[in-house]
Homo-oligomer: 121 residues x 2
DNA sequence: TTTAATGCAAATACTTTGCAGGAAA
DNA sequence: TTTCCTGCAAAGTATTTGCATTAAA
């Protein structure tokens, strides 16, 4: 597994901290940076593992990566414009733990996302 | 645009109201029903337009279709053997509604999944 | 006959992987 | 040298579309 190419991260930052692998690749091309799509994908995978970015999905299934703080949180995503709000999920954490315990599951994790139409759309 | 093949809908129902196109296709094959993947996709598109199903995304980007108005549930999945348990999520429903309202979001939905290692693994 | 449904095969889009060449340590 | 990084090309997966065949009305 390779380490993340730092230019991928800085491009994601310049893109507003919110872009797909394909978009980052095209942005870097336009900026004259020689890089392969493969390296963009591999860098994003590394950034994911290091919890420097997290990943959401567009309606069409394309993965979009976004910079995130290291605290565990969830997202409230607008289906229309894609704007996201980071939300707290203490209720979820408790719920996940209790249902897992109830069925004898160990080493648990969870995903949770809320989506809808934001007030501007 | 073709009309929905009724067997696709009934298969989705039998699958617990929650499955991907590929899963529905494989289920129908195993049940000896002659159908093409194309027809499954086209039927699901029709059901979407008629608001009989809606669509969410798995973590890997695969589209999963869900019966609307179905009292939906969540899953507890074993990372090792893949066994799943359907779980109730009243706490999640409340949480989703309150965070959405707090940020002025409308027409909300949500996804939530808990994963871990089951007692047999 | 006229229209709609079906499904194979090809096309498309995103993503991952095999592998060989190159850079860095 | 040895290890890591890179990127082309190929493979893989989900989904859509063109087109000819078949079923239905």
């Amino acid at each position: 597994m390779s380490r993340s190419n730092p230019k991928v991260l800085s491009t994601l930052e310049r893109a507003g901290g919110f872009a797909s692998a394909q978009e980052i690749y095209k942005l870097m091309q336009r900026n004259g940076q020689r890089i392969g799509l493969t390296t963009v994908y591999r860098s994003l995978q590394s950034l994911l593992k290091e919890n420097i970015v997290d990943v959401l999905r567009r309606d069409d299934g394309e993965a979009i990566y976004r910079l995130c703080g290291d605290s565990h949180h969830h997202h409230l995503v607008c289906k229309n414009c894609g704007s996201t709000v980071e939300i707290e999920g203490a209720a979820i954490e408790k719920w996940a733990k209790s249902v897992a315990a109830e069925h004898g599951f160990r080493d648990i994790g969870h995903t949770a996302e809320v989506f809808g139409t934001c007030s501007n759309c």
